[in-house]
Structure formats: structure tokens, C-alpha cells
Subunit: 612 residues, 2 copies
């Protein structure tokens, strides 16, 4: 397995072998962070890494296996962060026989104190930095169009907007989809700010001709067929996500009273029907949009969409559940066209719609902006682009806006805002949001489709923990989270893909072991960075303020939380945590059973790693 | 010992016995925080306490023994905070036979969502809340004048400005001096925001007729005479602080290259002479100001001053070293008149000049405002008063401004800005700033007058640690920090005062034991609040960026830091830390040897406490 390592201080870019076996995406970020990032360093400092990674099956014919992850130490949470998205970057990396890009250092500053803005261009000729001052301040859409005109339409792009250039902690990294639209956001945790600190406006990946070859092609073909059969035959992946996209969740969550509305004061929204997957599908079909759309080539699920206005003009692609809530119901906005326009603006400026929506929700909750006033929301987004004081304040995220407003009622964990699943009404989410090393991030373990009573606290800890472990494994293998409803119950199918591809004999348990290893490694990083049990709490108001219409509060028994990190569950890997608490770096690898390797910057070149 | 407990939610105010023996000020805040404040609660939430406390010798004839402390959980650091100041409030409390005021709850909100603004009035008739809507938005000076006209000139006042009403984390609590000027700031850590969250514009203490009587009057008189002799005969207290005020430090620190200048990029300032104590004394004498002024009646040191302009009109009282640096050299401003005007504005708006100066220094360092542009600084302070976005951003303090500017170069520890002693050039201050539970707060242990080589790291840990322990003890007894140069080397003198006053037989070691107990109790609170070793670090740039003109960096050996909390030094009290780390509340009292008492809200009434 190879990666590109680019030092933006020395401008040296080189290709290296990596010793990390099967690890991809979130797993690679965990192990590289563990080996290379000082947990006590500043996220915008020279010691942080911008890590871009894809998975061990990217570039093969397997569906949904080429997510792109961007990670490092988060400017928003101060802990480890992995943000992943779809788009074409994962496949493009694989076509160059690369699994990751690691960016280190800080760009040199000129006599004016300013660092140059550059591109990192990765192609079959290698990797190099190019001057990109002409792109300064440009939105992600214009940047994408220009870069495609310069580097060809096949170039896969990872772009930051003005917010990332300003190194604001709501800034994401935006990947282009097969249409060249930069709407696939690695949104959360401010990795766009880290990219901005590295002085990179974009990473341009010009695809090569490498085609990853399975070690056992026939076995691999069969395994892939079974994997795809499951995706097609499971209703959620084969029908619901496909037809209705992620907005399919509106109905269920609104019915549970778990759709954050008006600054997290209510759990259901009177205009929920207008934002439902069913309604959006109708609208798109009527207007000539695309309710079924693949964010990466070869995906069977195709939960993406191209949302258009009444004249058939595309407004944004995709329009997704989290944005419909955080920039919709949470702001009292029930018009999907208006939300789509806000979504486009947020993408163009390069901010996370979730964090930004939560931040603006606070301004509304404190009476600074009326709920439902989409025009003012658009103006506030433009203030971020301008870099004005109010723009930068919002660009710092919900925790900072809460601080500036002097309110204790701030919907964040570890400094990161909640996403669109109310923790009071779906109690498993209280565990996910609280315990994941990522801050209040839904994508680490969504529980609301489980067949349990979500209003009751019993058993939610176990449900969330198991879900988080499974998701972490699929995240570490480069899969889209959405494959898990179909293949999650059948780990042997995914493991068979890996065994056939890499000539291994991993047992089905590998999935669980890998997921545990990822989370423990991330947790160890966070502990060393100063994020411990005191930071695993939800905000006070969620324990005390009943959420209409259900009247529920977070009431997970403390005993359950105390058991969360119990060694019986996590296995011997739990030693990682005591090692980390004692201040030493844990030693472990991907859990593939071939033995542990410590990453070592001096000697990675040409080293033979586990499982590789 | 008695206190007033005011619940702003129920409007119930009552007087209670307290079981905390000799503890005053910082010690009382530590033990009350430990017993009553959930370390995981929000600083602006109902569970936080605003604790106002004075010392066990307040109201006696002993000099410098009636400081007022304001504390609780800090909105700025998220840890425990004690901020102390001079003024008349300590004596006034003692004249009512009170050692503390504890404010709890949150005010009820009206149908408009707004809480009422009120006064807490404490007098011989008891304590009660009064409506104070007419004072909303008023500066501290006008508020002080109005309250003195309403409650009499003898009323001692603790006031917040507009910044506190907005609950901004740079907001302080401002105490009036004998002239009725609200210039004695309990400035740091945002306790003004906590007072604002409690809905209190001011605490009005109408003095009573209680005169604390020593148990052994003759012994007490002798002890006080010896204490005063030391203050008079020690040059620092008897002459230098008296004649030159705290600006006396300008010469020494500038010579050491340890006077923060231009956003902490340089350690000496070309206009240092214009800001020196010697020069300011000349100016005040020429213009008819007061270079010698007591912030509280009965003080022998009298380091305060009344700084006047060329026409003899008072600009501010006092003008002190920390402000001369943070709003002077750190902003490239070398004109003391201009700094005095900015100081007045900051006091009037109710913000900490240190934190605010560091925040504005960052704007200058990033090129947003030119260094030396005092007019813009004044305008920015007015923006805080207006509550505009830029004003609120600055009002959130240096860490937040650094975040909004996207810079990793932010001079804070635990989210609180450094004061005016550069940690790179006075290495003991690197330990003080890093290890004190208070955030980067100089007043917990100033080391630069010790006869050591401040440029070298050796022995600085021990120097700072011993200094911090001594200071914590004097802080916990209500003394002004400035008595320590005179009486610090003679702990038996202070202990004799306590023994004579309270009929005790404490050994001289009591001072050290008390100081250790205070710090360990604070540390235990912080650990439970999530502030651990990872938060005891200085910002990255201080380890790597040499400070002109000395070229020094922070280079304290890690072994020294690892030994900081060693049990051999802290004694059995170090168990407090392991107890806290294990999640339980430590049990201990003031170290007076009369046994431990746990504060208990239900049963404090009438309870017989240790040493009381």
C-alpha cells in the first residue's frame, strides 16, 4: 500500500510505502494520527496532519467502497477527526495505486506575513505543489469548474471554500461527484480549516490506469455478487435510500419527535411533510431533477439526488436529510427550495451545513434573527464569505456562538454541534453523540431504525455501542455507512471480499475487532489530547428540558455509561486506553492478526507491513 | 462564621452559619465549589454559584487583610476560578459579621424570555433582591454613582458592566474603593458573566456595626504591630510599591525582556520608560494626581494611584502594571494617558483589561488593526458595550478571537490569556501560568523578583510551586498578594495573628499546609471538570518561537513537570487528586487541624464547624 506525503513547508512531495495493511479511511487516519500527530499540538500548527484516505477495496467493482475520508486533529473539537464523503476522489486515488495523502508542515510565509495559496496535484507523474493565488477567495463551485478546465474533467477534486482559507472551524473539504459538482462534503470538525492552514486550496487527483486486482479473482467476483445482491434485496438500500435519498428519514424521525426544530426546542416540525423524501421525490420528478443519483460511480444504492427549482435549474446536489433539518426545521424554514439554495451557498463558501445551521439556530433562539427568515440566513452565510465579524463568529461554530450570546443552552458535545437526530427522543443517539470520539456526530452510530423503544433508556448503551463498532469498521474499510443495513448482519460477506482481494483468511469477527480497534485508537488520541470522561457529556439542557411533543429528556442510567468502556466488551484492546491514560502511545495495528507495526516516519519507506 | 445565601430563582435570601473555620476568599471558594458546584455543569447554568468571600481578619486593624474574592466555575476556562480585588467590600462584609455571599439559581424569565435585572442588597436588615431595570446597560461608573446616591456613600459595591449583563467571558466584577470608584476589578475568568447570568447588576453591601474582636486582644495587637512593622520596613512594600505602584515592575520586567509587547512577539518595549512607575509618579505629582493611594482603608502599602490628565482631571484609578502592558506595550501603545483612557473604558464596560488586551493584540498581530492605534482600540471597546458581533467576539476573550482569526498562535492557557510576565523570559512564570488551576494567571505565583537566573529552566519548577503555595495561603486568608514579600519569609507572624484572633495554636507550617490544600482542592475540581495534564501546557509557539531580544523559549524539562504533583511535596493531601481522578469528591477542610467537615446544604444552618 502506498501513499503520497507532501510537506508544504519544504514543498517536498514523495510517494511512500505504508505498513498499515488493510486499513483505509477512518482506520488509516486513526493509526497515522496515533503515530504522527502530537495530541497536544495546535490543530492549525505545523505538527498536525491533513490525512486523506480511501479504502482497501476502492477502485474494484464493489459498490460503495471508495469513500474518501479527511482527518487529523480537529480545530473544532480538539480531538481526532475523520470526516468522510462520497465523490470520485477515492476511486481516483486507487487508480494511482494510492490509499492516502498525508500533508504535513505549514507553508512558508512571505515578507507580508501571508502564506501562498497552492494546489497539491497528484497524478501518474507523482505529486507536486502549484501556485494557486488566482483561486483565492473563490467559492467551491467556481473553483471546481476552473480546476476541471485546467486538469481535465476526469480530475477528482478536494476543495476548500473561503471559510477553509480563513481556517474557520466549520470549514469542510468538498469532493467532486461524477458530474464535477463539489457537493460531497467531508464536512464536520473543521478539516477544511486544517487544509487552509496547510495553504491548499485544492487537492487535484488526476486518475491513472492502475486497476486493483484481486488475489483470487473468481472468489472475489462471487463475493462481490453476494454483496451486491444484499444491497439490492434489502429494502432500505435497494429501494428506500435509492428512491427517497436520506430525506427518507424525515418521516420516521419527525414521527418519533426526534427532528430538531427551532434551535432544538421541539422535536417535530409542522412542515415536515414538505421536506420528506416522498415529497422531494415527487417535486424532482415533476420538475426534471434527479431523485436517484450516484455520488460515486458504481454505487448501487444511489441515495444522492440533483434537486432543481421550478424551472428545472439545479439548485444543489445532493439535498440531504441533515441539511433539511439543520438549515430547515432547526431554523424554522419549511421550503425545500429555500433550504436547497442555502445548502448551495454553504457548499460554495465551504462550511458544514450542520454546524452552521446549529450556530444560526442559536442566533434565532436568542432572538437575534427571526425563525424562518431564510433571507437573513443567506445574508449571514455571505458574511462568512466576507470574513466579517459576524461571519467569522458563525464560522467558529455553535459552541462559539453560544459563548458570544452568553447562553448555557448550546447543542454541542466536545465543541461540535448535534446533527439531526434528537438525543432526547432517540435515546441511543444520546450515547452515540456523547461517547463517540468525534463530537456530536450522528454518522458514527445511527440507532433510530433499530426495532426498540427509542423513548426508553434501557439497552440503548449496548445498541449504540454495537452500532458504533460496526460503523467504525465499515468506515475503516472505505465503505459507505449505508451498506450496513444490508451487509451489517452478514459480516462474513464483507470479510470474504477482503480475503479474496488480499489472499487472507480473516474470520467474520474481524469486522468487530477492527471496529473496536479503531474506536479505542481514537479514544486513546483524545485522552492524550485532554478529552476524557468529562467531555463525554451532553449539554445540561438535554438532561433537564423536556422536548416537546414527547416530553422526553436524556436519562441514560449512569451505570450504563460507567460500563461503556468495560474491558469485557472491548477485549484486550482496552489496554490501549490505560496505556494512553498513562501517557504512552498505544501499540497496535489493524487487528488483522498478522501482528502489530508501529508507524515510523524515518523507516516507512519500503517497509513490509502487516497484511500488505 | 456566617454567610448570606441568595437564590435568584426563588428570591429567597437567608443568612447561614458556615462550617469552614478560618477559610476566607480563595479557600472558601475552593471548598464551596467542591461541595456545591457540579464540575460538569455549565458556568452560566443554574448549578453554578457566584461566591463572594472575604477573609478571617477582614474588619480588624490588620493591613491589607480584607481583599474581596469572587469565584465559581469560570465561563472562560471551564475550571474553578477565584478573582480577587481590593476595595471596600471585604470590610463591609466583615462589618455585617459575614464572610461570604453565595448566589445560586437562575432568575425567572418573563414572557418575553428575558430575566429581570436586579440588585442584591445586604445590610444589617438582612439580604434581599431589588428590581434594577433602570440600570440596564449602564457603565460601572454611572452605576456606582447612582447606587451611592441611593444607598449612601458608605455602601460598598460589586458591579458588573454591560459586558457582564451580556454574560461575556471577559466580564469582571468591579468593586468600589474608598472614593466610590469601581476600579478594583475582580477581573479574570469571567465572573462578571456568572453574575450577569444570575441577573445581578450589583451587590450592594451597606456596612453594619459589627467589629470583629480578637479572642486575645493584647496578643493580637502585638502580632499586628509586628506584621505592620514588616510591611513598613521591607523596601518593596514600604517604599517601592507605595511610591511607584505596580508600575514599579515595568523597569525590571522590561530589562529581563519579559514585558509582552506587540501581541507577545517581543519582550521589551521601546516606550517602556514612559510607562515606568518612576515616570508615572513624576507625572502624577506634576499634574496633581495621587501616586500613593489606598484601595482599601487601613492599607499600609497603598500601591494604588489616581492617574490624572494634564489638566489634573482623573482619568482612571488605579492605573496598574498589567493594564500598562496588555493595553499598552502589547498593543504598541506607549502613551500612559491613552492607556489610562482605555483602562477607564474597559472598567466602565466591565471587562478584564488583561484578557481584552490580549484579544485585541491578536487582531493587531493578524493585521486587522495597526499596532499603536489607540483610537481603534477605544472604538472596539465601545463595540463590546454595543454588543455588536466584533464586540462580542472580543468579549469572548483571546482564545475565541484566535479561533475566529484562524491562528494557532494564541497566548492562552486553559482558555485564559497570559498576563504581563512573559513565560519565555521569566521561566518560573511558565510553570505558574501552566500549572495553576486558574488558567494563565500571574497573580497565583509571580517569580520574577526571586534572586535566580530567570533565563534558565533549572529550579524554576520548585520556585514557582513554592510561590504558588504561599500565595494560595495568603489568598485564602484574605490578604493582598503584596504582603508576601514582607511577611512571606516569616509565616509565624501571620499565624500568630490567626492564633490571637481565634484562640488557636496553629504552627507556622499552617501557611504551607493551607496553600497546598487550596491548590489541591482547586485541582481536584478541575480534574472533575475535565481539565487535566493536557490543559497544563503553554501554547505551542512559546516552546518554538524565540522571544526577542533574549531569544529565549520555554524549555522547562519534562521531568520537572512530571514531578510537579509528586506526593512527597504535596503530602497526604495528594490523595485528593487520586480521589478526584476516580470521580469522587475529596473530603477535607482548611487544614487547621480541627478535623474535616463536609459542607452540606441541608444542614449547614446552625452547624458547629471546625475552627469556628
Amino acid at each position: 500500500m502506498r501513499c503520497v506525503r507532501a510537506n508544504v513547508g519544504t514543498a517536498e512531495c514523495r510517494s511512500e510505502d505504508m505498513p498499515h495493511g488493510l486499513l483505509g479511511n477512518r482506520g488509516l487516519i486513526a493509526i497515522i494520527a496515533q503515530g504522527e500527530i502530537d495530541p497536544l499540538g495546535h490543530p492549525l500548527g505545523a505538527g498536525n496532519r491533513l490525512i486523506v484516505a480511501t479504502g482497501p477495496l476502492a477502485g474494484t467493482a464493489v459498490s460503495s467502497a471508495a469513500r474518501i475520508s479527511v482527518g487529523g486533529k480537529s480545530p473544532l473539537t480538539g480531538g481526532i477527526k475523520e470526516a468522510n464523503g462520497g465523490g470520485e476522489a477515492g476511486r481516483a486515488l486507487a487508480s494511482l495505486d494510492l490509499r492516502a495523502i498525508i500533508v504535513e508542515g505549514l507553508p512558508p510565509r512571505g515578507p507580508d506575513g501571508k502564506a501562498p495559496l497552492r494546489l497539491l496535484v497528484v497524478s501518474e507523474e507523482g505529486a507536486h505543489l502549484e501556485e494557486a493565488g488566482a483561486l483565492a477567495g473563490k467559492g467551491t463551485y467556481e473553483t471546481a469548474a476552473l480546476l476541471r478546465s485546467w486538469y481535465g474533467e476526469r480530475a477528482a477534486l478536494l476543495i476548500i471554500g473561503p471559510a477553509g482559507e480563513m481556517r474557520l472551524p466549520t470549514a469542510g473539504v468538498f469532493a467532486t461527484d461524477p458530474d464535477g459538482q463539489p457537493g460531497r462534503a467531508c464536512a464536520r470538525g473543521g478539516m477544511g480549516a486544517v487544509m487552509g492552514a496547510k495553504g491548499l486550496k485544492a487537492i487535484v487527483i488526476v486518475p491513472g490506469n492502475h486497476r486493483p486486482k484481486p488475489a483470487q479473482p473468481e472468489r472475489f467476483r462471487k463475493a462481490a455478487a453476494e454483496f451486491h445482491r444484499l444491497l439490492r434485496e434489502t429494502p432500505q438500500t435497494g429501494k428506500f435510500y435509492r428512491e427517497y435519498g436520506t430525506a427518507y428519514s424525515v418521516g420516521a424521525l419527525n414521527a418519533l419527535g426526534a427532528m430538531p426544530t427551532r434551535n432544538f426546542t421541539v422535536g417535530s416540525f409542522e412542515h415536515a411533510d414538505a421536506l420528506s423524501g416522498e415529497r422531494l421525490r415527487e417535486l424532482m420528478l415533476e420538475r426534471g431533477g434527479k431523485p436517484v443519483h450516484a455520488c460515486m460511480r458504481g454505487c448501487i444504492i444511489q441515495c444522492s439526488n440533483v434537486y432543481v427549482d421550478g424551472t428545472g435549474r439545479p439548485l444543489v446536489s445532493p439535498l440531504e436529510y441533515e441539511t433539511l433539518v439543520l438549515m430547515g426545521s432547526n431554523l424554522g424554514i419549511g421550503d425545500p427550495d429555500q433550504i436547497a439554495r442555502l445548502n448551495y451557498l454553504a457548499n460554495d463558501i465551504g462550511v458544514d451545513t450542520i454546524e452552521t445551521g446549529a450556530a444560526i439556530g442559536l442566533l434565532m433562539g436568542e432572538g437575534e434573527v427571526p425563525f424562518g427568515d431564510g433571507a437573513t440566513v443567506a445574508r449571514l452565510l455571505e458574511e462568512i464569505r466576507r470574513g466579517s465579524a459576524i461571519g467569522r463568529l458563525i464560522g467558529c461554530g455553535a459552541a462559539t456562538v453560544g459563548r458570544a450570546l452568553g447562553t448555557p443552552r448550546v447543542p454541542v458535545v466536545k465543541g461540535q454541534s448535534f446533527a439531526a437526530h434528537e438525543a432526547r427522543a432517540v435515546k441511543g443517539m444520546a450515547i452515540t453523540y456523547g461517547m463517540t470520539p468525534m463530537g456530536a456526530d450522528h454518522s458514527t452510530g445511527v440507532t433510530f431504525r433499530a426495532k426498540v423503544d427509542h423513548s426508553r433508556p434501557e439497552g440503548q448503551m449496548e445498541l449504540s455501542r454495537d452500532t458504533q463498532v460496526r460503523v467504525a469498521a465499515y468506515d475503516a474499510l472505505g465503505f459507505c455507512l449505508f451498506v450496513t443495513p444490508a451487509v451489517g448482519p452478514r459480516p462474513e460477506v464483507t470479510v470474504e471480499l477482503l480475503n479474496a482481494m488480499y489472499d487472507l483468511s480473516l474470520p467474520p469477527d474481524y469486522i468487530t475487532d477492527l471496529g473496536k480497534w479503531v474506536i479505542l485508537t481514537e479514544r486513546a488520541f483524545n485522552l492524550a489530547a485532554g478529552l476524557g470522561p468529562a467531555h463525554d457529556r451532553l449539554p445540561e439542557f438535554m438532561y433537564t428540558e423536556p422536548l416537546p411533543p414527547t416530553g422526553l429528556v436524556v436519562d441514560i442510567p449512569q451505570e450504563d455509561l460507567d460500563r461503556y468502556w468495560e474491558a469485557e466488551y472491548w477485549g484486550t484492546s482496552a489496554d490501549l486506553l490505560s496505556e494512553a491514560a498513562a501517557g504512552s502511545r498505544p501499540t497496535a495495528c489493524c487487528g488483522c492478526g498478522r501482528g502489530a507495526e508501529q508507524p515510523d516516519q524515518e523507516t516507512t519507506q519500503g517497509r513490509d507491513g502487516c497484511g500488505d
